[in-house]
């Protein structure tokens, strides 16, 4: 298989060929709609961010909408990306959950709030106002 164009910049190989990049990163072909970040900083973790992230994983994977490898129970053509992130300054009001591209920052998210965020915001585009504190798009 052709390896595509490779440029040498210092010691790094930079790949420029788009089909080669897509082969290496299948996420490029997914019809991504939203990216959810669960803060797993120290303070958020202490108040249950791990359980909140686990609940997102469980619900998104059951619905088949979490983008990722099939071998991990995810869907290569899923619309939702779920990752953790570092502290965003919601340390005293965590767990924090961020949804982009809207730029909505949710605070004090409990595992029992997750289904509503998934079904209202991620699937229908309706922000869950009772938990939303920052809307970056309107700033």
């Amino acid at each position: 298989m052709a390896r595509g164009t490779i440029l040498l910049v210092g010691k790094k190989k930079i790949i420029e060929d788009r089909s080669e990049l897509e082969r290496l990163a299948p996420v490029m072909k997914a019809p991504l709609k939203r990216h959810v970040f669960v803060c797993t900083g120290k303070s958020c973790s202490k108040v249950g961010a791990g359980e909140v992230k686990a609940e997102f994983e469980r619900i998104l994977e059951a619905k088949g909408i979490r983008q990722g490898k099939e071998s991990k129970g995810r869907n290569p053509m899923g619309e939702i990306v779920l990752t953790d992130c570092g502290s965003v300054g919601f340390c005293s009001i965590g767990p924090a959950v961020l949804v982009y591209p809207e730029g909505v920052w949710y605070a004090q998210v409990q595992p029992e709030d997750v289904r509503e965020i998934v079904e209202e915001h991620l699937e229908k585009g309706n922000v869950v106002e009772r938990l939303a504190l920052i809307d970056l798009s309107t700033k």
Copy 2:
């Protein structure tokens, strides 16, 4: 000082008073424009994500535009939030850098690319096309 309305939900105290929330999370008052994520997953870290993040820190803090605590050399009224994030599937083409709310995913970012991303994209809103592989807003 009034502690604001506090509801008890199970064992958790949920704070509802907005001024109390702002006191606890001053980031709510910052004029946020963009959020930059540097992937610090295993693969990205192996190819220099730490150096890329450090370069963002250095440049954003020198410019005074990184939101955060003054005691950490940041600006409480900064426009840019910088955090790390978990793997997004760019493992073979890292380091990955994501900029929201645009939803631009940059691949193979080197420390020497960081100033261009800051000055073109973060400050002026011009995507650095040569490094951009995904534009979530157009998906």
